[in-house]
């Protein structure tokens, strides 16, 4: 095996050097040239690096094989949503409410109090009869659309690293996010908008902020562009001090300078790309303003989302949900929609309900529930769910116990729930299970790597082969792990 690897490695080097010599002279973008599926290398998992056209690095690129989904909407609830209070019904936990948990572990904040049953009643929903709690009544109505994974596990029990892992595959800072990987692999079908949009919650950015949508060592062009209904793309609009005519005249002059400069450097595609980027910027200005303008949406639809709700956080999030749909509709490849922000006091800005989970979640539940459910329904009504994969995630779950001396739950990375919906996944389906209390994944244990592998698979990408050569390492979203969760595929 080692020998094969070594031979493989040396051939890889030869191949790469060959490509370096024949590349188009464009620095890193060019070096990320396709290392195609070479039959000579096909024994193992030869890396696949997409061909990037320097003047159009976001041009649509074909997947590795027929895709089930062509875009992703990831809804990320920051702060760690309690699975036992939402989607993971545990009758035994209800039965043994108030009793001590056998062999209760020391967790993130310390010792455990007693087992605590969910504070919201569960009842069967939809034709599938899925037990969902009353905390999220609107989402519960859509149980028939959802594909639950109840046996998810995370590699860290603290927010920063765990949020990093869910967004980038690695617990450490500085790795490319899933959205960046997907934009790198597939480019975009929408030439006037960013390929990857991250939408922070109205209350603020999520816990590890831009690392959630960073490009790490991938070229910056694949970084998520952060904007929302509350905050437009930074520097999108021309400064107020500059009038229309002045703007046009200034741009014309700039084009003259750049074209003459290019004429003195004939064939320099990087310079052509720069001229193109100013044209793209112009189109982006128009398209991004148009997509963020919700005034064309019917009043009834705004109400369905809760966009006029008296709760300004809820109405803000609802507007982000509408914006998310509009982006998906226009072909944006990856939309990451955040619910919950950085920590601004425990359980205040996000789902981190350590001490007073009832009060916290009665605040957070309604912000998420109606807008998010309306979004799912809207996508379905417009037929977008047929080609869009929706993934609802959080960094980890929470304990079936209350913390000692508190009325809330501590972190629990050993078992929690995520759900998917839309293109390529089963409907009204539940996969995997935690133990009797909801503490640890017991059946069909899954990792975040598996989830990422499955997302890539649904997009027609092989997670073991989609790679970027960085400092001697073929980097992957799934590192050296991950398996496609085949049982949830439709």
């Amino acid at each position: 095996m080692s020998r094969e690897l070594s031979t493989f490695g040396s051939r890889l080097l030869d191949r790469r050097d060959f490509l370096n010599y024949s590349a188009t002279g464009l620095g890193s973008l060019a070096l990320a040239t396709l290392l195609s599926e070479d039959k000579l290398l096909a024994g193992g998992a030869a890396p696949i690096r997409p061909t990037l056209r320097p003047e159009a690095p976001l041009a649509a690129r074909p997947p590795h094989f027929a895709a089930k989904a062509n875009r992703v909407l990831m809804i990320f609830c920051s702060g760690a949503v309690s699975h036992v209070d939402t989607f993971d019904y545990k009758p035994e936990l209800v039965r043994r409410d108030g009793q001590a948990m056998p062999e209760a572990p020391i967790t993130f904040q310390g010792e455990q109090g007693n087992l605590a049953q969910p504070r919201w009643r569960f009842r069967p929903r939809g034709r599938c009869g899925k037990m969902v709690s009353e905390l999220l009544p609107h989402l519960a109505e859509l149980a028939d659309e959802m594909c639950f994974i109840h046996s998810m596990t995370a590699r860290s029990n603290t927010h920063g690293p765990a949020e990093n892992q869910m967004s980038t595959g690695f617990t450490l800072d500085g790795f490319p996010s899933a959205g960046a990987w997907v934009s790198y692999a597939l480019g975009s079908e929408c030439s006037d908008l960013p390929a990857f949009v991250a939408m922070p919650d109205p209350r603020g950015v999520p816990q590890v902020g831009p690392n959630n949508w960073g490009s790490g060592f991938l070229p910056a062009v694949f970084q998520g562009t952060a904007f929302s209904a509350q905050r437009p793309i930074p520097h999108l609009a021309r400064p107020g001090a500059i009038g229309n005519d002045a703007e046009r005249a200034g741009r014309d002059f700039l084009r003259l300078l750049n074209e003459q400069h290019l004429a003195r450097h004939p064939g320099d595609t990087e310079l052509s790309a720069r001229i193109a980027s100013y044209e793209l910027a112009g189109r982006l200005q128009t398209a991004a303003s148009a997509v963020a303008d919700l005034s064309s949406e019917p009043a009834a639809l705004l109400d369905r989302y809760g966009a006029n709700d008296a709760n300004r956080i809820k109405s803000g999030f609802a507007r982000n949900c509408i914006l998310a749909r509009r982006l998906v509709e226009r072909g944006v490849r990856f939309v990451q929609l955040f619910n919950g922000s950085y920590a601004m006091g425990e359980g205040v800005g996000n789902w981190d309900g350590h001490r007073t989970i009832v009060a916290d979640y009665n605040r957070h539940g309604p912000i998420l529930d109606q807008p998010c459910a309306a979004l799912l329904r809207d996508l379905k009504d417009r037929g977008l769910l047929n080609e869009t994969l929706v993934v609802w995630v959080t960094e980890f779950g929470r304990m079936p116990t209350f913390q000692r001396g508190a009325q809330g739950r501590d972190h629990n990375p050993h078992g929690f729930t995520v759900w998917l919906a839309g293109a390529g996944v089963k409907k009204g389906f539940s996969y995997g299970a935690t133990d009797e209390f909801g503490h640890r994944a017991a059946d069909d244990r899954c990792t975040v790597y598996d989830l990422h592998a499955t997302i890539l698979y649904l997009l027609g990408l092989q997670h073991e082969r989609l790679s970027f050569y960085h400092n001697g390492i073929e980097r992957r979203l799934t590192d050296v792990h991950g398996r496609v969760i085949e049982d949830i595929l439709s």
């Binding site: 070594s6 188009t24 500085g174 831009p210 450097h265 980027s277 425990e346």
Partner: protein, 833 residues
């Protein structure tokens, strides 16, 4: 000689003649995995005979005859290789271009019209060499090249992860690096100091060890604690090995390296080198310590006299007394005087704040005696308790209330909005007459201030007696009428601030050193799966091998590692650094994976040249400026950047250097150049950095980009206080590294967001306005003169007739700001050719 030392001597000998020592069986306790390895001896050989693990070889530079004249040995290697592919080098670029190229390359700054004029008219045959010398002697050289180094070592000035708190004292390492480049510190010494500067009189250098992220969120859960520690060590191991050795040792954390001869035991042997290194601040030995002690003594005497005068003049607190008797509550420091009382307990109860949960940075209790003592200090045995503490915050803790340290960074916050109490229990009853408290004595924060409060004392538990309240203070915001007392108080505030400054030990975020914890091999890298102990040792397969005893002290370990890396016989060290220098001068490394010289890295395009440069470095006292000089004076470097269809057909990537590689400026020289051209660049060097984000007091830092900029922010970008994972919102999009991972080679993207930032950000608009003002001031109001100067300053050349006509029309019609904004956006401004 014992058997063991005999073996060690033998190993050293073998290592010194540059052969590779097989690692299996040398280090005790190593698992050999013979089952997997038994049949693959030849692979092991392949690993060990890899080009970069072989000793350096000095090859005579080939005689090249083709095309351009060779100026030095570099050219002979380059030309000979070009000849092989029947390619020619390009002719020398014109002088104007060379000057611009050199100045950006060596200093990261544009040239002035005067510099251009002087260089163009310098007829001396060695005018170019003289220019190189003057640029290498400029202090701005260090600022330019330190940035390259800081990329490679993942340096940033915040913790990363979700708290991402600022490290206010991390900048001394940045200044150390700038200074090291400027003084042409021998590179072997530079390595040693960064690993063991505490031993070598270079404390700041060890900022290297802890320049990476640090997870401040601590937990009683042992698994998390161990994981965090192993992650810290992993950062040190992988950074050290990739920076200095170009090896991805980090890959052997969970299993033997897949490609390189690095075993999992090797990984933990290197990890053991750092087992005594902890994140955090350490006092810096500086030259002014004695001076500051004298100043402090003088200030203390002065303060004591002043305190006696104030004690006579300042009214005592009068609970329930009329409002306005005493000064309003201050955010920095408040004194409560009362008639002497015997007390064992003091309780401070907050009833209302200006906002949020109340914060106190320190609570001090003074004895009623001639030389009052603060008996509240925990170090004297006083115990603190409270109504409840702000959860999860690292900088706000109950223990900070009486730790003798001031400021928001060492404070207590209650867990309730607008209220809470804190209580101190003295070890024995004391006669007291004064209490001093504050919100933030460093004066940075004005929120969370206690406006209504009550202070009680008791001799026995529960027998409370009120000694002071906020009732008799003036309303917040009231200005004190000028009086002898107010003057005394103002003077006291000044002296107290001065005293704090001189007594504050000069500390820097350069790591703390503790006795090393034992190092174990971790099965699959899992910190909960400890296997055999591993001693600190060098890698088994490189250089002069050594192993230290398990009991070796922390500093001894780091010093030994440094010496092993900086050993001229180590085949990697010199190769790796000359390749980095080459990469920055000539666009790509001779090895294009600058931090991976292992089997999975790129092959060198010019292996003999690489070795030749590495030996030049070692033979010339490891002086980097010697290598810079060789490279930039070569004909290879002086080539024009012009294209050539024939050469492009053979080597489009220009990996053989048939021309100079034109490229876009990185974020930092771009921002610096804009400020330079607008006339606003502040070239002051060193010291604390400037912030491009709004101040923020949340316990996890929230980064809001500044929208308005002043002279503070007009220094060179190397002095930006650089947070991790948070890029500047104008220049970050230019592939600026975020300090999350090492960045040995920056990407170079072109994106529409870059265009939007350069066109529309407030920073750019403001600088375009300054540039326009400058044109008006220096060229007068005539558009054609403004146009000419604009081109000279921005591009270093005169406009063509067509350009001038267009510029004049634009300025006439829409003003010079629009013209200047366009110049800043022009490809010619951003590209160096």
């Amino acid at each position: 000689m014992t058997l063991a030392s005999l073996r060690l001597a033998l190993l050293l000998f073998v290592g010194s003649i540059g052969l590779f020592v097989l690692h299996s069986g040398v280090v005790a306790g190593q698992d050999k995995k013979t089952d997997a390895r038994g049949a693959v001896d030849d692979t092991e050989d392949a690993k060990k005979s890899h080009w970069s693990f072989r000793p350096l070889i000095r090859t005579e530079p080939p005689e090249a005859v083709n095309g351009v004249k060779a100026r030095n040995a570099i050219d002979r290697f380059i030309l000979a290789r070009l000849e092989k592919d029947k390619l020619h080098a390009s002719p020398e670029a014109d002088r104007r271009i060379l000057l611009r190229r050199l100045k950006f390359d060596l200093l990261g700054l544009p040239s002035t019209p005067q510099e251009i004029e002087a260089f163009l008219s310098d007829a001396r045959p060695d005018a170019y060499e003289k220019l190189v010398e003057s640029l290498l002697a400029s202090p701005h050289y260090g600022e330019r090249w330190a940035r390259h180094w800081l990329d490679v070592v993942r340096f940033a000035e915040s913790d990363g992860f979700e708290t991402n708190l600022h490290r206010p004292n991390a900048w001394p390492y940045r200044d150390y690096v700038i200074g090291a480049f400027n003084s042409d510190k021998p590179y072997d010494r530079f390595i040693l100091e960064q690993l063991a500067g505490d031993k070598l009189g270079a404390d700041e250098a060890t900022g290297f060890l802890v320049g990476g992220p640090y997870d401040r969120v601590k937990s009683p859960e042992i698994g998390l604690t161990l994981q965090q520690r192993t992650d810290e060590l992993h950062d040190m191991v992988s950074t050290t090995s990739s920076v200095f050795l170009g090896l991805t040792i980090g890959c052997a954390r969970c299993h033997d390296h897949k490609f390189d001869p690095v075993s999992q035991v090797d990984y933990y042997a290197i990890s053991a080198m750092f087992a005594g290194v902890q994140h955090g601040e350490r006092p810096v030995n500086d030259a002014h310590a004695a001076d500051r002690r004298t100043k402090a003594a003088k200030l203390k005497t002065e303060l004591a006299a002043l305190d006696r005068a104030i004690a006579k003049a300042e009214p005592l607190a009068e609970p329930g007394g009329p409002a306005g008797r005493r000064a309003p509550v201050s955010t920095t420091e408040n004194t409560e005087r009362f008639t002497p009382v015997r007390a064992k307990f003091v309780r401070f109860t907050i009833l209302a704040t200006n906002n949020l949960e109340p914060c106190l940075d320190e609570l001090e209790i003074f004895t009623a005696e001639a030389e009052p003592r603060n008996v509240a200090l925990a170090s004297l045995g006083t115990k603190a308790s409270s109504s409840g503490d702000y959860p999860g915050a690292v900088i706000h803790k109950l223990e900070h209330i009486n730790d003798g340290r001031y400021g928001n960074g060492r404070s207590w916050i209650s867990n309730e909005m607008g209220k809470g109490w804190v209580q101190l229990e003295l070890p024995q009853p004391q006669e007291i007459d004064r209490i001093i408290w504050g919100r933030d004595r460093e004066g940075k924060f004005a929120d969370r201030l206690a406006l209504k409060y009550r202070i009680e004392v008791a001799l026995e538990s529960g027998m409370w007696r009120v000694v002071a309240t906020s009732e008799d203070r003036a309303l917040p915001g009231t200005k004190l009428p000028d009086s002898p007392l107010s003057r005394l108080l103002n003077r006291r505030a000044e002296l107290a601030r001065d005293l704090r400054e001189v007594t504050q030990p000069a500390v820097a975020y350069i790591g703390k050193f503790t006795p090393p914890e034992p190092t174990h091999r971790l099965h699959r890298g899992d910190p909960m799966a400890k296997r055999e102990k591993v001693k600190p040792a060098s890698l088994a397969s490189f250089g002069r091998r050594f192993e230290l005893p398990e009991a070796a002290a922390d500093q001894e370990r780091r010093l030994a590692l440094g010496k092993w890396i900086a050993d001229p016989k180590n085949p990697l060290t010199a190769r790796v650094i000359v390749n980095r220098l080459w990469q920055h001068h000539l666009g790509a490394g001779i090895v294009d994976t600058p931090s991976d010289f292992g089997l999975n890295g790129s092959q060198p395009t010019h292996p003999e040249l690489l070795d030749w440069l590495a030996m030049e470095l070692i033979d010339n006292g490891w002086r980097l400026k010697h290598i810079h000089r060789l490279i930039v004076t070569s004909a290879t470097y002086r080539q024009a950047a012009t294209g050539n269809a024939k050469a492009e057909a053979v080597d489009a990537g220009n990996r053989l250097w048939w021309r100079y590689p034109a490229r876009r400026l990185e974020a930092e020289p771009l921002r610096d150049a804009i400020l330079f051209v607008s006339g606003k660049l502040d070239l002051r060097m060193g010291g604390p950095g400037f912030d491009l984000f709004e101040p923020n007091a949340n316990y996890v830092k929230v980064y809001t980009p500044k929208k308005a900029f002043g002279p503070q922010e007009w220094r060179r970008m190397i002095y930006q206080s650089k947070p991790r994972m948070q890029l500047d919102d104008t220049f970050g999009a230019f592939d600026c590294p975020d300090g999350g991972q090492i960045t040995p080679k920056r990407n170079r993207s072109t994106t529409p967001l870059q265009a939007l930032n350069l066109l529309n950000s407030p920073f750019m608009l403001q600088q375009a306005e300054f540039f326009a003002e400058r044109l008006k001031k220096e060229a007068g109001s005539e558009p054609k003169d403004q146009a000419r100067l604009g081109f000279l300053l921005a591009f270093g050349r005169e406009p063509t007739l067509q350009e001038r006509a267009a510029a004049v029309a634009l300025i006439r019609e829409h003003g010079a700001v629009i013209f200047c904004r366009a110049l800043f956006n022009a490809s010619e401004f951003l590209y160096v050719s």
